[in-house]
Symmetry: C2
Subunit: 418 residues, 2 copies
């Protein structure tokens, strides 16, 4: 069988299973998730043996320590995955939630009810825990899921999917509702992106390159996730201690994630008095500063920023710093260079806080808090399938509801249109 | 300037205007819409003169009478457009509607607020009233709009857009928020479909070919609209009078629209007793029946249906008819051939009604009512920008809310993540 035939066959199996998935009860889904959690723990050895194969290959290919760490599975990580499944089981099921019922033309009774998407395709890189997370969230929301992980984790992902499916076989859920694409070829992704009618939505999770490819080439609807060039604007009236804490947290708490702060915009009057103090702990934590000319004159340790730095998601201990003359200049900079992910202002001036919240076009806008809070768990959604940076369907942290659609149910007693 | 440069420049102008559009008040938007309505009426002569040019060209090209009628503008149609603008002015503004405010991690206060999309691109054919409708709905929902109408209506659309923009010039809204693409080349659409970052969503409205092209080729997110291969299933227990009325209404009330009924599925026990009576008024209204073998044996006037007929949206007085053995066979047929638009059952059996509502995967599912009700006005939305047949973002009739996105506003007092 060609890769195209294989992927299409899996998608057809998923589509068929999705009809059954839409009808299983919340309790049946939860029981299945709990069985999956237990199966992961029981089969920890099998998964770690498969993971060893991936790690050996990755070492051979000279992967960085950071990448090896992302790939690595140990007992603690398996326990985390199992715990994640139990948490998803405890979440409220969004399927079947309805709106009020209302009366339309000629007395037809209309209600809107939340339904599964159908078949969700996840395309992701490296981290094998996504295999568990994505499967759990898609199943809980009544969907079938097609998983296409990175080639570097193929043995681990295959082992995990096998364990999950063995647990499903002892549940009321159709085993075919989880499909792992085992081909590591790019061709598999190319096929998946064109399966309109079989796949309802694709969610790419990973680097900017992967996401760009899927957004540009997929004819299946896509939820664009992740790329975050996030700014913190320190206003003239900002509390210097708070501003420093928010800048340091945004940049250094976890530099490789999408809600990390990449550029610091500083009002000139704040900069003149406090930029040295603000940047000191950043430098102490090893952050490389790339500044505008004013920044470089105020902070000798800063290197000159290039035009490209303003639009770069560094994913690293690098921070671009620009001194601006006003709130408007800061908002214009964000409009020009931002990716509409997470944007923050630190200010004590009410009218500036309000303008920033109203006028900045981003999934999440902050006053006096770290950009690092853009996260399904921090928001209280209890789960996160990704962070959407598009405006359609879902924006910002996506929980279970983002994996559902709606339909209208109309009840009549013989109405016809005049 | 090349077409690509021209379209890109218009999109940039729209993007810039969209920032201002997001901030204008409901009252300012409504005043503008009312001015537009008055301007259309005042400039009726200019628009009709332009329309004459399009009609002359269309006659020369040998357009059918139906197409000429779609294209034609007269006083009554201008009044309808003006009335439409006044109705949109009267609708509730969705922008700024918020969810409850809740507390997330570490005491951050989060609320979700409805925002404009930004820049909406409408690609449509023939009917020039879409120019007015789309502009009105996009402006009311705080968006800028790029309009790409069909080449056959270019003079009419240009005249209408000119009149709308002259009214905008005397309002608080930026004139640049309405952009009509004057090039009639396909190249303009090709450019528009790749303007990620400038255009937030594309909505194609028109024939299946146009919609397929945009869905397949656009990298800008698309809302897929319109293609409706809708079924009515007449169950064994159906009331024959009601079933006949719903079938006749679904097929003949307006055969060229997407919510028209294209295939009738009939339970065999109903068919044996009533199919002759049911099809009589259809035949009297000139409907051509294309039936399965059983249908052809019961209704001599029916011609044999081809496999292709089951998946065809006829847009005409043609109805495919299939006799089925059960509810399950009917639902399987719908799953196989339907476009997930509007599906109806006529039944007196409660458990079948419930199963049909639950199990059929479509934007709108009906019990005992005509498929023709899938419509924003019939649903009471007060407006309709199109009918979505995809599961992302919006499904079914789309009113003003479908033209908006959301953002999260987070207020803190110095929170950083531990």
């Amino acid at each position: 069988m060609t890769i195209a035939e294989q992927v299409t066959q899996q998608a057809k199996a998923a589509r068929k299973a999705s009809r059954q998935m839409a009808l299983v009860s919340t309790d049946e889904k939860n029981q299945c998730l709990l069985k999956m959690a237990a199966a992961l723990e029981t089969n920890s050895g099998v998964i770690q043996a498969a993971n060893e194969q991936d790690l050996a290959m990755a070492r051979e290919k000279g992967f960085s320590q950071a990448l090896l760490d992302r790939l690595m599975i140990n007992d603690a990580r398996i326990n985390d995955m199992a715990e994640g499944l139990r948490q998803v089981a405890a979440l409220k099921d969004p399927v079947g939630e309805g709106s009020r019922l209302w009366t339309g033309a000629d007395g037809i009774q209309i209600s809107q009810v939340r339904t599964p998407m159908g078949v969700v395709g996840m395309i992701y890189e490296a981290r094998p825990n996504v295999t568990v997370d994505a499967a759990a969230l898609c199943l809980k929301s009544g969907n079938a899921v097609i998983l296409k992980g990175g080639s570097e984790a193929i043995h681990t992902n295959t082992a995990i999917a096998g364990v999950l499916k063995s647990a499903m076989a002892e549940s009321a859920l159709p085993v075919e509702a989880v499909q792992l694409i085992e081909s590591t070829s790019r061709e598999a992704v190319n096929v998946l992106m064109k399966l309109n009618g079989l796949v309802d939505v694709l969610i790419p999770r990973g680097g900017a390159g992967l996401i760009k490819t899927v957004v540009e080439q997929s004819s299946v609807p896509v939820i664009e996730t992740g790329v975050g060039n996030c700014h913190v604007f320190v206003d003239a009236s900002a509390d210097p201690v708070m501003a420093t804490a928010i800048a340091v947290n945004g940049k250094t708490h976890r530099p490789a994630v999408c809600n990390a702060t990449e550029t610091l915009l500083v009002h000139e009057s704040f900069a003149r008095e406090h930029l040295g103090t603000l940047t000191k702990p950043l430098l102490e934590k090893g952050v490389e500063l790339r500044g505008c000319p004013v920044t470089c004159s105020l902070v000798p340790a800063a290197m000159p920023a290039s035009e490209e730095d303003w639009s770069t998601e560094f994913h690293d201990l690098i921070l671009a710093v620009k001194v601006v003359a006003s709130l408007d200049e800061a908002m214009d900079h964000i409009e020009t260079y931002g990716t509409r992910h997470s944007e923050a202002i630190v200010t004590e001036e009410y009218s500036h806080a309000r303008r920033f919240l109203q006028e900045v076009d981003a999934a999440t806008v902050y006053v006096n808090a770290s950009t690092r809070y853009t996260d399904g768990f921090q928001f209280g959604f209890g789960a996160e399938i990704g962070i959407s940076t598009q405006k359609l369907h879902a924006r910002g942290p996506m929980g279970l509801e983002a994996l559902t659609s709606i339909k209208y149910m109309v009840m009549g007693n013989g109405q016809i249109r005049k």
